[in-house]
């Protein structure tokens, strides 16, 4: 794996060590402080850096979705109709699916991405939490005693009574 990485690095390497600022005089009206720092460019072009950035992008995607989802859920309202239900359902299902597929998602990133994975999963869990909160505020979670009321069996009657107005 490391050799492969090495290869890749070879492929894309841009040898900026050779560019030596000291060798050349600055062009006229060039102020060195105004130019973007060359080592930053070097950082950006750094493959490792790119990969981490990509992996963090991936890991943070669910968190980035969160405000959007929040807004969507706010807009969906608490009424129970087909669209809000579909939205909540999607919100609940997608993170679950994504969590299951975490490994697959991070497969293409070949560095050690445990941290990112954890952040990724946590982000999705946050989304699930949001969905559950939404379900709760919509009243879809059976967390109250009244939700189980329909299943309470009527008590058995122990005595039996009959009679009425005395006819004689």
């Amino acid at each position: 794996m490391s050799s492969k990485q090495q290869n890749r690095r070879q492929k894309w390497i841009l040898d900026n060590t050779r560019t030596n600022k000291a060798d050349l005089a600055s062009p006229p009206a060039y102020v060195s402080s105004c130019v973007p720092q060359s080592h930053e460019v070097s950082k950006k072009t750094d493959i490792n850096r790119l990969i981490t950035k990509k992996s963090w992008d991936l890991a943070l995607a669910p968190v980035k979705q969160l405000p959007m989802n929040l807004f969507l859920m706010y807009m969906a309202g608490n009424s129970i109709s087909i669209f809000p239900i579909m939205m909540v359902g999607m919100l609940l299902l997608r993170p679950i699916q994504a969590i299951w597929a975490t490994k697959a998602t991070f497969k293409m990133i070949e560095t050690n991405t445990l941290g990112q994975m954890i952040v990724y999963v946590l982000g999705h869990l946050l989304n699930i939490g949001l969905a559950l909160f939404k379900c709760q505020s919509m009243g879809l979670l059976p967390i109250y005693s009244s939700d189980w009321l329909a299943f309470v069996e009527p008590p058995m009657r122990q005595e039996y009574l009959g009679g009425g107005i005395a006819l004689h």
């Binding site: 879809l140 967390i143 009244s146 009527p154 039996y160 009574l161 009959g162 009679g163 107005i165």
Partner: protein, 871 residues
């Protein structure tokens, strides 16, 4: 999942808020309801052209079509318990006199339309027997005080006194009749009569034998009386001025006179050798020429009597009224029964809804495993399923032989009805037609508070296929006052044992909840001596284990006490012992309501807006009792008690000052609704009281009245009902999931009011649309859409019988009184049925269309693909 309930509630609530109850669509009229109009037992009947005008014991004047027997118009006068019709005569108009001992109302009605023409009153101070008759537009009012006749002659139209005269006439009052202008009295062995005019003298008709003699009016145009000396022998005496003339031959006691094209005829009814046939005899008065016709008297009717007759061009209509209040019209020379009316149904004293048996085919499938070997069972299965398939394809003509077959939704039932005259009826709920009738001789209902009731119990339903259903009716012998028991099959009306006349008086009866080995629920009859008897006797051992859990209560209306009894088994007998007493003392017990034994309570609590549960106090043994006490300060005080029938524990009591009857109680689940008239505010008030256990359930598995851990918490609220209720009932559904409707019988019909509208709101809990709660309104709205009888008039409603259908959403409702009205109600709409206007055709068309379109597009798509491939 949890929210499904709230969704239901919200939708229900929305519908509630939108129209407060669900109404019928106009195209549903008559689809599942029917109404039958009755007039009551006929007291007076007269023909007029094509109409038959009757005055009945229900204080009703009505015109029936003589062709069909249908009611053309009907005018209901005052309540028959206060006023009675005393005279009905057709002069130019119909003249009726109705009233009580010192006040009479004289009314004249238009024959054609039934409009009132005049109305005036006669009020007198002296209470003696009064006799009325009309002759030539004069109303003769005769007061006879034993020695003197005080006669007043009024103008019928205006009520002006034309003349008044006094005629000395000595006779006891009870055997006197007024026939047109003749007043006749039976005195010892002679009949004295006098014509009501100035200076007329009393004449005498001597009698051959005076024992058991009776005199009655001879219904005819000419003034005449019938003197009956024995049950088959009587004679007609015609009056003519101061003279009289006897008819040549003796006649039957209920002979009737009619004029056919100028010839006076006498009609009589006679029995024949064939017990199912009757003989009509017409005799020409002048020459004694006779014409007789025999006809088959309809089976199941009581002893007939001639009530009225009419002849037009030698075709005569005879109106027969039977002992069981039925009316028959017989066309004379043909001797054909034109129509019959069962007027007994105007006085219903017991009702019960029964499930029908399964069809023969379904029953045969149930019998599948009773066959012998495997092959025969297989063949049986194949043949029955083939028949089922053919039924499905060709319609159910195979089942048409009886028609009384159970349906899937339990919407087709049979209503068993017992009437005051002792006649039982089986009525089909789908059509309202009579499935069977059964007449019980010498039977009368029990007196219960202000109504009359018989006790009808269902001992076995039609569910136990080879065994027939079994009902038991308890009533009173009209001669001895002892109890009678009759067991019958409610589906066919067939009684195996016929009437059992008991040698004791019935105090109460109770149907035990457990079946014996024949699936019969034993009936315990409690006698006035305090003994208990079991029917059927064979069930004695079967109930041994249940006896100790069975309790009986009796309410003594005379002493205003309630007593509880324990049942226990001693040897072969069931004994009772007094277990509790409640003494309501000087207050008068006016109403009692127990819960329906078949009621099921689905929800054990009420959900509060914070989604916690407030548990209901559902005590199936709770009795609601209403008493009215005379109070020197507050006039009348109404007290309502909720008493546990097992222990006698008074769970709740409340009182209303200056309240007046009529009191109506309805008791269901954990609540009670009662209505009364508030004299203070001069309006009808309805109070709803609800009992709760609290936020915990003390015992969720068994309920025992003996174990009281906490007192029920009572919530009440009061409403104004802008009407005068006649009775009150509540809907009943199979599993108790559906919302409840209250039925208020008013003078213009029955109104359904959702219980949610009356349910007490908690004081500290918000109430609004978000909480699916209808805000409190002090006046109960009665929208027109809530009338379940829509524009059909229901007169003098006496009761509402309710039964569940197998469909949870629906209950059967039978409203009885002078009219009989049946309908089905669905308090939460028919949520378990497709809507009636569900468009099957549209759905099929759309689906077919989509399939076709998809095929077409598929074809075109492949074409296009081909083209693209070639490019």
């Amino acid at each position: 999942m949890a929210n499904i309930r709230s969704i239901c509630i919200i939708t229900i609530n929305l519908t509630l808020l939108s129209c407060l109850s669900h109404a019928l669509y106009e195209d549903q009229v008559g689809k599942f309801d029917w109404k039958k109009s009755y007039v009551g037992k006929v007291k007076f009947a007269e023909f007029d052209a094509r109409k038959l005008v009757v005055g009945t014991e229900e204080n009703v004047v009505a015109a029936l079509s003589s062709k069909t027997g249908n009611v053309l118009w009907r005018q209901v006068m005052e309540d028959p318990s206060e006023q009675n019709i005393e005279l009905l005569k057709i002069e130019k108009d119909i003249i009726t006199v109705s009233g009580n001992e010192n006040l009479w109302t004289v009314r004249s009605w238009d024959v054609g339309t039934g409009n009132l023409i005049t109305e005036w009153i006669i009020s007198v101070d002296k209470v003696v027997l009064y006799k009325f008759d009309v002759k030539d537009n004069n109303l003769y009012v005769v007061a006879h005080d034993g020695s003197m006749l005080n006669v007043r002659v009024f103008d019928v139209q205006t009520g002006l006194v034309k003349s008044s005269l006094q005629i000395p006439f000595v006779a006891t009052n009870n055997q006197c009749i007024l026939v047109q202008t003749y007043y006749a009295c039976l005195v010892h062995n002679v009949v004295n009569y006098v014509q009501l005019k100035d200076n007329s003298k009393v004449s005498t008709i001597p009698l051959q034998s005076s024992e058991n003699a009776k005199i009655s009016t001879y219904k005819s145009v000419t003034p005449a009386i019938i003197i009956t000396t024995s049950s088959v022998n009587s004679e007609i005496v015609f009056f003519n001025g101061d003279n009289h003339q006897k008819h040549i031959t003796p006649v039957m006691p209920n002979a009737i006179g009619v004029i056919d094209s100028g010839t006076p005829l006498i009609f009589q009814l006679e029995g024949t050798k064939n017990p199912s046939n009757l003989l009509i005899k017409s005799t020409i008065v002048t020459n004694g020429e006779e014409l007789t016709r025999e006809f088959e008297y309809p089976h199941g009717l009581g002893k007939p009597e001639l009530a009225a007759a009419q002849c037009i061009d030698h075709v005569c209509n005879l109106l027969l009224s039977s002992a069981d209040n039925a009316l028959l019209l017989v066309r004379f020379p043909e001797a054909k029964v034109m129509w019959t009316r069962e007027e007994a149904l105007s006085k219903i004293v017991a009702t019960e809804f029964l499930e029908l048996p399964v069809s023969e085919l379904d029953a045969s499938i149930e019998n599948e495993f009773k066959g012998g070997n495997v092959i025969s069972m297989f063949l049986h299965r194949i043949t029955t399923q083939c028949r089922q398939l053919s039924n499905l394809v060709f319609g159910s003509q195979f089942l048409a032989n009886t028609g009384l077959v159970r349906d899937d939704f339990g919407l087709h039932k049979i209503i068993v009805v017992a009437t005051k005259s002792g006649k039982l009826f089986g009525i089909d709920t789908l059509t309202g037609s009579l499935a069977w009738t059964y007449r019980l001789p010498n039977v009368k209902p029990f007196k219960m508070l202000d109504s009359e009731k018989m006790l009808l119990f269902v001992q076995r339903t039609a569910r136990y296929a080879p065994l027939p259903a079994q009902c038991t009716l308890l009533a009173e012998d009209s001669i001895t006052g002892n109890g009678i028991i009759i067991q019958f099959d409610p589906i066919t009306g067939y009684s195996e044992k016929s009437i059992i006349r008991l040698n004791y008086k019935i105090r109460q009866a109770l149907l035990l909840p457990n079946d014996d080995e024949n699936h019969v629920k034993p009936l315990v009859v409690y006698s006035d001596k305090g003994d208990a008897f079991i029917y059927p006797e064979s069930a004695n051992t079967a109930i041994a284990t249940h006896a100790s859990h069975t309790y009986l209560y009796t309410v003594d209306v005379n002493k205003n006490t309630l007593n509880g009894h324990n049942l226990y088994r001693e040897g072969e007998n069931i004994k009772t012992t007094l277990s509790w007493t409640v003494n309501l003392g000087p207050s008068k017990l006016v109403a009692l309501s127990a819960k329906s034994p078949i009621e099921r309570v689905h929800s054990q609590g009420r959900v509060l807006p914070d989604r916690s549960v407030y548990y209901k106090y559902v005590n199936p043994n709770l009795l609601a009792v209403a008493t009215i006490a005379d109070d020197p300060i507050h006039k009348n005080v109404l007290s309502i008690y909720l008493i546990d029938g097992v222990t006698g524990f008074v769970a709740y009591s409340t009182s209303h000052k200056r309240a007046k009857g009529p009191i109506h109680l309805v008791h269901s689940e954990n609540w009670l609704v009662y209505s009364f008239f508030s004299e203070r505010f001069r309006r009808t008030e309805v109070v709803a009281a609800e009992l709760y256990e609290g936020s915990t359930q003390s015992n969720s598995t068994v309920f025992s009245s003996l174990a009281i851990s906490q007192l029920p918490h009572v919530e009440t609220s009061s409403y104004i009902l802008p009407a005068f209720p006649l009775t009150l009932a509540v809907s009943l559904t199979e599993r108790g999931i559906t919302n409840k409707f209250l039925f208020f019988a008013l003078n213009n019909g029955v109104v359904e009011i959702p219980w949610l509208l009356l349910q007490p709101r908690f004081a500290n809990v918000a109430c609004g649309p978000e909480e699916s709660c209808i805000p409190y309104m002090p006046e109960v709205p009665l929208p027109n859409e809530a009338y379940i009888n829509y524009n059909q008039t229901l007169e003098r409603i006496q009761g509402i019988a309710v039964a569940p259908a197998r469909l949870e959403s629906t209950s059967h409702v039978l409203v009885y009184g002078l009219d009989l009205f049946y309908t089905r109600v669905a308090p939460s709409k028919t949520f378990d049925l497709l809507k009636e206007d569900f468009d099957h055709i549209l759905i099929i068309l759309v689906l077919v269309g989509l399939v076709i379109v998809s095929f077409i597009t598929k074809y075109f798509a492949s074409q296009k693909m081909l083209k693209q491939a070639w490019k």
